[in-house]
Structure formats: C-alpha cells, structure tokens
Symmetry: C2
DNA sequence: GACTCTCTACGAAGATCTTCGTTGACACTA
DNA sequence: TAGTGTCAACGAAGATCTTCGTAGAGAGTC
C-alpha cells in the first residue's frame, strides 16, 4: 500500500496544509484550535506514516503534505464506494447529487464529463476522429 | 443524533441484513466468516446503538437492520462530503465518476437526474406544470 | 548565571473498535 | 442421567485514535 488513509483528525491537518501550503505545528494549531501538543503529536505520527514530510528551518519544523488532495479524495471515495455502494461509482454519484443542490457550473461540468464517458462507451479505444480528443483533458 | 454512523464491521453486517433480510447471528457469521462470537458481540453492540433490533424466535435471536441502505449511504456520503470535499456534492460526484467506468444505464440515470436539477434551477420552487411533481418522491 | 519563551520529544490516559475465549442456560439424545 | 450441541452473555486483550501533561533543549533577556 502506498500511503495509509488519513484518519479524520489527520485529514483536518492535511486540509490546512493543502490550503496554506507547508506550515509549522504552530500554524496548524492556530488554524484548528485545541492543544498545541495534540497537533505536534499528530504531525509526528503523520510523518512516520509518510503522510507529511518535514524539514527543519530555523528551530521550528516545517511540515508538508505528501499526498495531493486529489489523491486522498480518490482514495477515500474508492473506499466508501467499495464498502457502501458495492463498487458502483454511478450509484455513489447519484446518491451524492440527490443529497445536495449544486451550482449551475458544477452541473455543467458533470454533464460534460457524462458526455465524455458516453462517447467513450460508444466508440471505445481507438477509432476516433476528432471529438474523443477530449480525453486529453485529464488534469494534473 | 438519530443513529450513529456504522463502523466498517458494522457496515458489513448491515449489508448482509439488507441483502438477506432479518437473520440470526449464525447466518451473519456464515456469510462473513471469522469467529461466531465476534458477530454476536457486534450485533449486541449494534442493538445497543439502535442500528439493529432483535426479536426472540425460538432460541436464537433474529436481528433486523434499522436504517435503510439508502439512509446509511446518504449519511456516510454526507460525512465524507464535509470532511474531504468542502461540502460540494458535485465535486464529489465528479471525482467518483473520474475514478471508475460506469454502465450505460447508470450514466443515463445520472443524466436524467442532471436534467431534473437543471430544470429546477431554471424554474425554481412553485411555477410548475407537471415535471416538478417528482419532488414528492422524498423517501421515508 | 538565572528567567522566560518556544520548540520538540516522550509517554500516558481515555475512547472506540475488533476479535475471541469462557461460561452458563437450555434442549436433545443415548 | 450423563454427554453433546447450540445459543446468548460477559469480559478481556490488543489495536488504533485522540488528547495532553510533563520534561528537556536551545535562544534571547535582565
């Protein structure tokens, strides 16, 4: 296994690191409240697990998230998909949309992705003329 | 809080109960393998938490799932949505679809749901002729 | 040099989850 | 009636997560 799934608290910390970039224990603690040493300990554990790396600048250590937000989202979602949706991504997506309203742009984005998929289903690998070129839109 | 979120093992058990209907400890154990008393204990705990109810038929107790699969999916998904997707259902759905291929029917279902939502966005509450009547489909 | 601040490191305590071994009740049978 | 099986109840052990208290190192200040 590449990296362990972050626990809820670890995810909170990762979210801070993703938003603010590399940070000291103090910075994380100030974002999240609670005891300072709680976050120190958590970051130490996360470093052991490989979820963050740290470098020593001056006296305080600087922690950086190792997995990207995208990776973690994919991992957690894949997990839930298996455990609660019998592996069906579409069932999961359906249920997600059912729950909350979304913005018009998000819906448009979803629709574009659906168009993409249906096209791939219709004209599978190869045999493309021009439209399937959208496949190069996969993000970094 | 209505019902606690099931833990991973508890979810395994709920899935058995959803698929097979009410069952004894032995039936659950036979579906999932492992130690018999493990499932006995888990089911006792789940009964305390309110995730299952039990009735005594003959000697063995019969356990029934309390929350529906739908409810649990919604709950787990809402949780993940908050914790890892900043509350955005569409972002979550997008990421889910990105991960795995889905069947043509599932995609069609999704598309229908999107059509629905965009229609609601365009012509919000009230001012309906017929289509928006689907709003009465809210589950029990 | 003694005080004070800011760090990291260590370890422990409490909560929850998971897994089972053991015990005792009850019923069936030889 | 003694033996065998099936069942629920109980408790305990180990793992993981979360939260901090305490200690000790290093730097700056009076």
């Amino acid at each position: 296994m590449p990296l362990p799934k972050p626990t809820p608290s670890e995810l909170d910390i990762l979210r801070v690191l993703w938003r603010h970039g590399p940070a000291t224990v103090r910075a994380v603690h100030e974002q999240l409240g609670g005891g300072y040493t709680t976050y120190l300990k958590l970051l130490q554990i996360m470093a052991e697990k490989g979820l963050v790396t740290r470098t020593e600048a001056d006296r305080a250590h600087i922690y950086r998230a190792v997995p990207s937000e995208h990776e973690v989202q994919t991992s957690l979602l894949g997990d839930l998909m298996q455990r609660a949706f019998g592996g069906s991504a579409a069932q999961l997506a359906l249920r997600a949309l059912e729950t909350r309203r979304s913005s018009r742009e998000e819906l448009a984005q979803l629709r574009a992705m659906l168009d993409n998929y249906e096209q791939e289903l219709t004209a599978p690998a190869g045999a493309m003329d021009d439209t399937t070129d959208q496949s190069k839109e996969n993000k970094a």
